[in-house]
Symmetry: C2
Subunit: 347 residues, 2 copies
Amino acid sequence: MAEDREVTIYDIAKYLNISAATVSRGLKNNPMISKQTRKKITDAATMLGYQSNTFASSLRSRQTLTLGVLVPRLNSHFMSSVLAGMENAANLHGYNLIIAQSLEDVDKEKRNVLTMYNKRVDGLLISLSANAVDIQHLEPFFKKQIPVVFFDRVHPHADSTSVGIDNYEAAYKITTHLISQGCKRIMHLGGNLLRNVYTDRFKGYKKALKDHRLLFVESLHLVSNLSEQAGTEAARYILDLPAAERPDAVFSANDTAAVYCMLALKAAGLRIPEDIAFAGFNNDPISKVIEPNLTTMNYSGEAIGNTAATYLINHLKGSTDLYATNAITLRADLVIRASSLKKDAAG
Amino acid sequence: MAEDREVTIYDIAKYLNISAATVSRGLKNNPMISKQTRKKITDAATMLGYQSNTFASSLRSRQTLTLGVLVPRLNSHFMSSVLAGMENAANLHGYNLIIAQSLEDVDKEKRNVLTMYNKRVDGLLISLSANAVDIQHLEPFFKKQIPVVFFDRVHPHADSTSVGIDNYEAAYKITTHLISQGCKRIMHLGGNLLRNVYTDRFKGYKKALKDHRLLFVESLHLVSNLSEQAGTEAARYILDLPAAERPDAVFSANDTAAVYCMLALKAAGLRIPEDIAFAGFNNDPISKVIEPNLTTMNYSGEAIGNTAATYLINHLKGSTDLYATNAITLRADLVIRASSLKKDAAG
DNA sequence: TTGTAGGCGTTATCAC
DNA sequence: GTGATAACGCCTACAA
């Protein structure tokens, strides 16, 4: 019963007594074909239940209308916002997304890159895994001139563009804000220094200290994966410090670590911001729920995703030269909330 | 300079003075081919920079090693966990994920279904949009016997399987728990009743009321999209109620609405759980950050995603009959936290 | 164990 | 405007 062969343009052609070439053209609304036949074709197509075979088409036309997306982890608030933004942009232009995660593992990242290549994605959107030392594994793409756009965790490369925010400036602003609140011993919870987002935040933090004549203290710089657990451990670390060496503020490179650090310190009886002020990064939903609300850096994951995908697609459509722009920097705004308002709390 | 033609199995064949067929076999580790030639082939492949063309292969072999994933929204904690679980399972078995979101819009969902079909995904994983009345639009898949697995927001269909939790029982447990704490006027913040997850939670809630001789009160049943805003509006609604008609507990069908409702009520001076107890659903990260911590239903999005994808893949590989199982129900556990512990709070 | 030949469904290139 | 024909890169009977 079940007819297994696909309905092809040949079936339509036969049905209408015209050539397959004409059907192919008619289906794509090629203006060379008369309005009449075009209508006949589309009608016959729906009535025969025709559905175009994308990869037969891809094989011939050398484009897949598919973008590869490679992220460290799928399940973070920030990343899912980015994906939502990308999906919107892609969908708008008739592109699809094929998505994989590296789980912060370069080897998996490498395999994924090759898979994307084998699937002949038209372009690649990538945010690097924590421990990727270089971008050697992207060579196949560069060699074949398949456009690559980095987002968030970027890496400079002549044949690509990066989309992100100015992490240096953002961290500088946050740190300066804490200093303006009277904080003098500001701890930094940072991420893996192989990634620009974390080195830049670290540098911005140090520069702000320096500009305000505060000493950078090694023991107040912790590097971790910024997970819930890392936040809790940071709290333990702080509590174990001699009273005189305790920080009077914490600037965390993400909200998760900040919030879990706060929770543990609160449980230990410390008052925030009186005893210790806090600032995070990302404007994650939890930053608006924790008490006191967490001062943080707000920037839109959706905007980053949308921008990166749109830029890539425009390039593919030939309306933009990918290499005209090396970096696209989106805005990030300091959102001041109670967790860092030492002066108000005192007053 | 840039040689634009792809490196194909013919290039390898020519290079080694063997036939393309042998190369094709060798590349797939076909045991018919001698170990020696196999090695020669793979060596030549890497040295020539060969990368297999997936869709040329797909065109011929009629399988894409790609699964379509269709979700209402990408950017929720639950959904991104699901995706992470699916990606793990898919990756493990050599499958890829092509992902799209309907943004709760049936029409977009319909278009996406067709795109997935045109891309000839080997199987479809779908969670329905809020306002999908039927699953007429999945017919192409059913007709062609392409397996479909529903997850979370499911829909009964003879030719598919569903993966989710027992929402009815979960809601029953939650409501019973609130009743056991002495609550008598329990409000329910529910979602769109077209979706099983919300009708089942609603039914479980009503059944628990009935079993404990409590009246179901229409005015204590709100239907919304369960967003932050919906939570805040629910609080407004509660505050506007005459004192005698106010609920003494709220069971929300998700944590987001619960938490934003709590925040607004707290801001208005109500005490939780003394004045009004709370329970949510999902065990979202915010439920552990809000004060008091939110009682909720815990179930793993990753497990759901992983199970759904694994099941689908096993079916594709022929090791499972898709229709042997109509529904896979994963466990969900009540996580009791301070927000619902009226008795403790009183004591 | 390997080679030959034809076809998967579409589109590009010429013709007319 | 439309038609013939040859690719695109790979796989798989069948033959050797």
